[in-house]
Symmetry: C2
Subunit: 203 residues, 2 copies
Amino acid sequence: MPAFFAPSMGRLIEELSKLPGIGSKSAQRLALHLVKRSEEDVRSLAEALMDAKSSVQHCSVCSNLTDADPCEICSDENRRRDLVCVVEDPSDVVAMERTRDYDGLYHVLHGLISPMDGVGPDELRIRSLLDRVRQEGVEEVILATDPTVEGEATAMYLARILRPLGISVSRIARGLPEGGDLDYADEATLSRALQGRYPVESD
Amino acid sequence: MPAFFAPSMGRLIEELSKLPGIGSKSAQRLALHLVKRSEEDVRSLAEALMDAKSSVQHCSVCSNLTDADPCEICSDENRRRDLVCVVEDPSDVVAMERTRDYDGLYHVLHGLISPMDGVGPDELRIRSLLDRVRQEGVEEVILATDPTVEGEATAMYLARILRPLGISVSRIARGLPEGGDLDYADEATLSRALQGRYPVESD
């Protein structure tokens, strides 16, 4: 299809359609939009691309993406250093930070254990997590992987290897989402909510 | 939200979310994907962006996007020069070319008449269409704007100003889409299909 476009457009469409979630139709629409934008705007996007690629690295402590090593969170003196929240990837750190309810550190696994996809424990940042727990006075590890088959398997694996180290290991709660509707909840979520019920204090 | 990311990631996410159809969540996902790609891949995308922006121009004849002026289609000796198909934008030229059923030239309006959006005839490439018809031996103009309110209004406007020039003016047919299902066709489409019925020759 790009053959019907000017060569430079064809190449741009081809490059854009390599991005995840961008089909050839969206790539075409994006390319047509981009050539209408000012040269300054396009340069700004191109530079942001190159700049992110060359600046971003993994934090040597928590493996989160960062421009400086250690990352801003690991070097923040106001955070508790005895609490580590384990997540699948950098966007999960963003989700946790958005709650403004967590003041510990993170550990980014960069994936979940998934035998189907050939991802075992050695492909994830698990050894560095164990080193942190052993050497840096960590007292609690919160397992905050997704409540999916892979997330659960990864959490169970980590719990098994972390517990012998004599620290608390916890898992984020499952249940009805805030503002959710009992009627529309799936059975698994509702079962979880029931199992996880907690006593209500009367005044 | 980008505040929770490394600065260079934040800037990339911000730039990506300026694109049409890319919300902050998709921009985040794209950015995380891009920093995982090789530097060569990212450079290739950045260069395609800058290159398309600097090379692509409007053809001085038909206003389609092109790297060379006049465009490949306008300078193709094998195409009929007496037939011009008027479309809204460059992606419509691609759609027409994909049929491999059209061997005339094009004229790209770069928009449709839409009083609601403040787009009148003067904002479109209509004057250059009239000049072509007057000066270049055009015998038929096919109005191939979308079968929408704006597309129809634009086609009617063009028909009114083109007819006095003594040429044939036609409009692409409306009806059931090929492979379509009568059951599922909306009333307007079905009405059009009924109005546009044609005699079937018996052998």
